[in-house]
């Protein structure tokens, strides 16, 4: 039925991969599980209030982005007073098999949160700029810029 929300399980089945990939790349595997659980729990609680024609993918990734930010803030609080939050190691996270990828993950982990989310949403979730903007709560132009700046930094560590 187009005028009713799908059963939550169908929504979960349809979006679990994209949310998992997004979290793996933004918070790393050690925290991906917790963030995943929190993302879908928040989604489940709010679900009946959604309009049936909502963009469910952008909606759930917005929640995931916020949970990822919470995780970064939590890590920053737990870290030593002088430590840079951005220096948190996300390399262990994805356990890349290719050594070139390890450098890349390191660089992704060092991006500011918004750039990191923009990059993840674009490449891992394949979102268009408009949906990236909706997910991270900024204008489309700002999303485009974050993505561009993030990619420019990553290009330095990836041999062409």
């Amino acid at each position: 039925m187009s005028d009713a929300l799908p059963p939550f399980q169908r929504f979960l089945d349809g979006h679990r991969d994209i949310v998992w990939r997004f979290l793996l790349s933004t918070v790393g595997s050690a925290e991906a599980e917790d963030c995943f659980q929190e993302t879908f729990m928040a989604a489940l609680c709010a679900y009946p209030r959604l309009r049936a024609d909502s963009n469910l993918r952008a909606w759930v990734l917005t929640i995931a982005h916020n949970k990822a930010l919470d995780a970064h803030r939590g890590r920053a609080r737990r870290a030593l007073p002088m430590a840079e939050p951005a220096a948190v190691d996300t390399r262990a996270a994805a356990a890349p098999e290719d050594p070139r990828d390890e450098t890349l993950w390191g660089a992704v982990g060092e991006l500011p949160a918004r750039q990191r989310s923009a990059v993840a949403l674009r490449f891992l979730a394949d979102l268009p700029h408009r949906e990236i903007a909706a997910a991270i709560g900024c204008s489309e132009e700002a999303a485009r810029r974050s993505l561009h700046e993030g990619l420019a930094k990553l290009r330095k560590v990836v041999p062409a």
Partner: protein, 219 residues
């Protein structure tokens, strides 16, 4: 594509995609397996904590795979294999709540009781029932039906009379035909006056099978 800047199509993009999913994009990668496992843990937890309002699971039976659904109050729906899972779930989402998850552990007691019943080891069901899909008249009819003991039968007219509508055997037949929890609410124990099988939502073959399992005397 106008949406892609030049920088997006280079080695960085390639490397990002590969780094996220080392096994490649085709088939079941480690990433999709991990996501499926996380989703499964989520669904069971959401159901156990009561955040999900309806849980469902497949249940094996001699008729094939049934779909069982339960709310906090109890078993609310049992669907025969011919019914499409999607349409059963769509209707539950509209009538009860869209907060529906597949949570097999929640249906364990139902699964055990059905298994025992089909094996001839159980004569009555103890799992609580949720009657909320059943209207007021249907409730009276199905409450009367639920009182028919294992191995016993009543006629449509007798059930109608028990439900307080002595002349309503056709209406009683309709209520029985739309029983959302067949087998457990034993509408198969209602026959025509004289003992002919009458009708059954799951097909007459199954009605006969259930009555024979219970050793009922049928015409």
């Amino acid at each position: 594509m106008s949406d892609r800047t030049e920088i997006e199509s280079g080695a960085v993009a390639e490397a990002l995609r590969r780094a996220c999913d080392p096994a490649g994009a085709n088939g079941q990668t480690a990433g999709t397996r991990a996501a499926a496992a996380a989703a499964h843990r989520f669904a069971e937890r959401a159901a156990a904590e009561g955040a999900a309002e309806v849980s469902y699971a497949p249940v094996d039976s001699p008729f094939g795979t049934l779909l069982a659904a339960a709310t906090r109050r109890g078993l609310v729906r049992l669907a025969f294999p011919e019914e499409s899972i999607d349409s059963v779930l769509d209707r539950l989402a509209r009538r009860l709540s869209p907060r529906i998850v597949e949570a097999p552990a929640q249906l364990d007691p139902v699964r055990r009781e059905l298994e025992d019943y089909f094996a001839g080891r159980r004569r009555s069901f103890e799992v609580p029932l949720d009657w909320s899909l059943i209207g007021p008249f249907g409730r009276r009819v199905l409450h009367a039906t639920a009182e028919i003991p294992y191995g016993g039968v009543l006629s449509y007219a007798e059930v109608a009379s028990e439900a307080g509508s002595p002349r309503g055997s056709r209406a009683a037949g309709n209520a029985l035909g739309s029983n959302p929890i067949p087998i457990v609410i034993p509408c198969h124990r209602v026959l025509r006056t004289g003992g002919a099988l009458g009708g059954y939502g799951g097909g007459l073959e199954r009605k006969r099978w259930l009555l024979e399992l219970e050793g009922a005397r049928i015409g």
